[in-house]
């Protein structure tokens, strides 16, 4: 199998991966080689959104991106959302609003929500639902996930 080297900036840190099989997906590289198992793989077919990460700021299903395609790019995973011990406002409100049950969809959900808020700091409920429509959750009925995103919007718009 063909191999190549892949350079990524993951959560702000530079990583060089050698001998990456060209068929390896980004989610596999992150989980198996970078040790970042916070990113989950739910279907491997781009249907469930559990593997959502931000690639140069854009949300992608990392199971549909080849590791080699991401070469030279910047990746944000759930592990990079919090700085030191301080949670991102979305993480904080997901905890406080009870948005988390089994938790398997949550890393992808958080990154889809972050991508939305980066683009649109004051989304409507319909826009929030639209932004996470590619992220399946089987536990919550999305009720508290939507509430948590709305609360994060409110807390982030407050002057610091």
């Amino acid at each position: 199998m063909k191999e190549r080297s892949v350079t990524l900036r993951v959560n702000g840190e530079l990583h060089v991966f050698n001998h990456v099989p060209v068929r390896k997906t980004l989610v596999q590289l992150l989980r198996d080689d970078a040790g970042l198992t916070g990113t989950k793989e739910g279907c491997g077919e781009g249907d469930c959104g559990a593997c959502t990460v931000l690639l140069d700021g854009e949300p992608v299903n990392s199971c549909l991106v080849l590791a080699s395609e991401a070469d030279g790019k910047e990746v944000l995973t759930v592990e990079g959302l919090s700085r030191e011990w301080e949670l991102h406002p979305l993480q904080q409100t997901f905890v406080e609003e009870g948005a988390v049950q089994c938790g398997y969809c949550i890393p992808g959900m958080l990154l889809a929500a972050k991508a939305l808020l980066d683009e649109n700091p004051s989304p409507t409920e319909a826009e929030i639902r639209g932004a996470i429509a590619g992220n399946l959750c089987r536990c919550t009925g999305y009720v508290r996930i939507v509430l948590a995103i709305q609360r994060a919007v409110a807390s982030m718009s407050r002057p610091r």
């Binding site: 739910g42 009870g98 089994c102 929030i128």
Partner: protein, 769 residues
């Protein structure tokens, strides 16, 4: 005292989960780990003529190959021992494991299974339960009566029926004679999948002493240990199971799934661990599904709506292996008459093998399919009698002390409250004042339904609590965090009794080597059973602390008060000692204190598994508002009110999470989801683009509430509730559709083409005023 009980405290597992640190099954990684892949049957029923492994063996990087021939005489199954780890002699469903490979990496393992050549001789297929019941149907398990099984399973020799379970009360024929009206209906339900976001997985290792260790997202480590040990004819202590966090279960993460394949491979890898992670296709085809059912229901009523007699016959399509299918049949059939007072009852369930994916436990354990029939028919009855559907239910629902349809007096009955809550929330009394047609030309309808579910009885749970010398507490149980919030609930109970803050608590990982026995994290039993065990353990600690304090104070133990993290002499509250101070004074060189709690319910009818009347019953109700587009038949649930009887809730927010999530899950079941199998038993849509589950765009406004009917034996009056949250959604939607456009759909799911066709045939929507 007990301040934390009843509070909506923040979940203790949330931080780990939002930070990506929580370890789920597929996240387990060990040194020297190999990767396993499975070759699966393309046929639903076939004899295996030959398996050629030669080419696969030659592939560099392949370390072990295993087939059924390596595991002769190994059969697993909780209720019936009928399932080989890998097919032996024949395959009974499409996707059944036939061979597995462990290799240095996943790509090599995948390549190797492609090189295995299997010759099959196809057999006739029984593709649904009715076909499997016909005379001359292909026998899926010859000699099924010879399988080892638990007592409640009653197989029918020379058939595909693995059990028949029957319940009678009174005399139904007399009840029908005394009725003014008799209703006979048939309803059916489809095969659906739990569809947890986390796929099934397992890592297994066999150590140099031949001891098996398994890491898996399994909801019941002690049960898995027993399943594996029994199948492999090993002692229980020779198998160790460690459960990770479970990324969604809903009943589908118990028993033998990825675990037996990983174990079978690990037995041949010279002590190297083997990891098996199922693809989404494997999850759909070869883990577990919900039973498709056919329910025939006959009900006799008086003119005033009094239910006189009910006769229900259920056919459960249990798929190719028994798994928990027969216990679903025996347990759910007992709940088939609904949460009502009915004098004369006859209930019978037939659990039938078919050449399909294995059916078993699925949130509600058969009761949603039964409520679909029972509660749809209740609306037909109400219509005929000219009664309001809510009123008909309220006239008949069980209340405290009533005798239920299987002859047991009931306690802790919140169904009336649940019905009233959902009716209030949806605006039931005012519904006729709403416009019946929207501006877009859609018809508006309202529906209500209620449901009930039992819990497996009897079953046991044991807990240990370690109080460390600094006053911190470790909760040591085998209860698995599957997303239901069990850690939070158990911490609230322990801290409530001991008067400790929640920040002082840590949790053991469920591990059969160190966490005491627990029957399972299933059947909505954990708050009740393990909650009681933890409460008893905390009280045990308190008693030991009181004795320690009495020794230090030089007084009788009865004169000591222990609360709020401190102990003191009743008459001298100002001279208190904290728990760390007590331990320090007595054991200066260091010590911890262990509290023990064991809960096993008192049983009226024997101590056998599934041998007793339900310890408690769950109750719930749903009311929905729908809009039906007559041009397309498309149904949209626009509002949904959901209520469950929680007993006294330990954590009301956790309860609401269950109620909300279950509601949308069940909307998927009712309107969207169906695993389609063709007449040769081939599953057509084992993926998330063809098997669609609800997204955030499919969710209506959900109005969740709970009713409190405290249970005298539950911890602080609490009882289980997580499975009742889907049960009555299905018929509530069906009832609302009939209310909107006058057609009654009898087979799930309610796809728009079925509604459209029914409208065409009846012309009902256009005639409706």
């Amino acid at each position: 005292m007990e301040a934390l009980v009843g509070e909506g405290v923040t979940r203790v597992d949330a931080l780990e989960k939002v930070s990506g640190a929580a370890v789920f099954g597929p996240d387990v990684k060990l040194v020297g780990m190999l990767y396993g892949k499975t070759l699966r049957s393309p046929h639903a029923h076939a004899r295996i003529v030959s398996i050629n492994l030669e080419e696969a063996r030659k592939l560099p990087g392949v370390r072990a190959i295993v087939t059924g021939a390596d595991l002769s005489g190994v059969l697993g199954g909780e209720a019936v021992k009928d399932m080989p780890f890998l097919a032996q002699g024949k395959v009974r469903y499409m996707g059944e494991p036939v061979a597995a490979v462990a290799a240095e990496d996943e790509a090599t393992a995948l390549k190797a299974i492609d090189l295995i050549d299997v010759v099959y001789d196809e057999l006739p297929v029984a593709a649904d339960a009715l076909a499997a019941l016909e005379k001359g149907a292909p026998l899926i398990h010859e000699g099924l009566e010879n399988y080892a099984r638990i007592g409640v399973i009653k197989p029918v020799p020379k058939s595909n029926v693995i059990t028949v379970n029957e319940y009678s009360k009174g005399d139904v024929e007399q009840g029908f004679r005394e009725s003014d009206e008799i209703f006979e209906d048939e309803f059916s339900s489809q095969t659906v999948h739990h569809a947890p976001l986390e796929p099934h997985s397992a890592v297994a290792q066999v150590d140099v002493n031949g001891r098996i260790v398994v890491w898996a997202p399994n909801d019941s480590p002690h049960r898995l240990r027993k399943d594996l040990a029994d199948a492999l004819h090993m002692r229980l202590d020779r198998v160790r199971v460690i459960s990770t966090y479970v990324g969604g279960g809903f009943g589908g993460k118990g028993g033998l799934k990825a675990e037996p394949i990983a174990v079978a491979l690990a037995m041949k890898t010279n002590h190297r661990p083997v990891k098996v992670v199922f693809t989404r296709e494997e999850v759909f085809q070869a883990t577990l599904v919900r039973h498709a059912t056919v329910v025939r229901i006959k009900t006799g009523v008086k003119h005033d709506g009094t239910l006189m007699a009910r006769d229900v016959k259920i056919i459960w399509d249990t798929g190719a292996y028994a798994e928990k299918g027969p216990t679903v049949c025996s347990q759910a059939t007992a709940a088939a008459a609904g949460p009502y007072r009915v004098a004369h009852v006859h209930l019978v369930g037939h659990c039938v093998y078919t050449n399909k994916a294995v059916a078993g436990a699925y949130r509600g354990y058969g009761t949603p399919q039964l409520a679909w029939a029972c509660e749809s028919q209740m609306d037909t009855i109400a219509k005929k009698l000219g009664l309001d559907p809510l009123e008909l239910r309220l006239r008949n629902v069980l209340r405290e002390g009533d005798v239920n349809p299987v002859g047991h007096p009931v306690h802790s009955v919140g169904v009336e409250d649940c019905l009233k809550q959902v009716a209030q929330a949806i605006g039931w009394q005012e519904r006729r004042r709403q416009p019946r047609v929207t501006e877009k030309g859609r018809y508006v309808g309202f529906g209500v339904a209620c449901g009930t579910k039992n819990t497996k009885t009897p079953s046991g749970s044991e807990a240990a609590l370690y109080l460390s010398q600094d006053g911190s507490l470790t909760i040591v149980t085998a209860s698995v965090e599957v997303g239901q919030g069990v850690r939070t609930i158990l911490a609230q109970i322990a801290c409530g009794v001991l008067g400790l803050p929640m920040e002082n608590v840590s949790f053991s990982q469920p591990d059969t080597d160190s966490t005491p026995f627990d029957a399972s994290t299933t059947s909505s039993r954990t708050t009740f059973h393990m909650g009681n065990a933890v409460k008893i353990a905390a009280e045990d600690l308190k008693q030991q602390l009181a004795q320690l304090a009495a020794a230090l104070f030089g007084c009788d133990v009865n004169q000591v008060v222990v609360d709020g993290g401190k102990a003191w002499l009743a008459k001298e509250p100002e001279r208190s000692l904290t728990y760390p101070e007590l331990l320090q004074k007595q054991y200066g060189a260091g010590a911890s204190m262990m509290g023990r709690g064991f809960y096993y319910p008192k049983s009226e009818q024997g101590k056998a598994f599934h041998g007793s009347p339900s310890l408690f019953w769950m109750y719930g109700a749903h009311a929905v508002q729908v809009e039906v587009d007559p041009k397309t038949g498309r149904v949209e649930v626009t509002r949904l009110a959901a209520a469950a009887d929680t007993g006294r809730p330990i954590n009301p927010i956790n309860c609401l999470q269950q109620i909300e999530g279950g509601a949308l899950h069940a909307i998927g079941t009712t309107l969207m989801e169906e695993l389609i199998v063709d007449n040769q038993g081939h599953m057509v849509n084992p993926n998330f683009h063809d098997y669609r589950i609800p997204t955030a765009m499919d969710a209506p406004e959900i109005l969740a509430s709970f009713a409190e009917a405290p249970h005298r034996e539950g911890p602080f009056g609490a009882k289980g509730m997580a499975e009742i949250v889907t049960t009555s959604v299905l018929p509530a939607i069906g009832n609302a559709i009939e209310d909107a456009v006058g057609v009654r759909i009898r087979d799930l799911p309610i796809r728009s083409d079925k509604v459209w066709r029914a409208l065409k045939e009846s012309g009902a929507a256009t005639k409706r005023k």
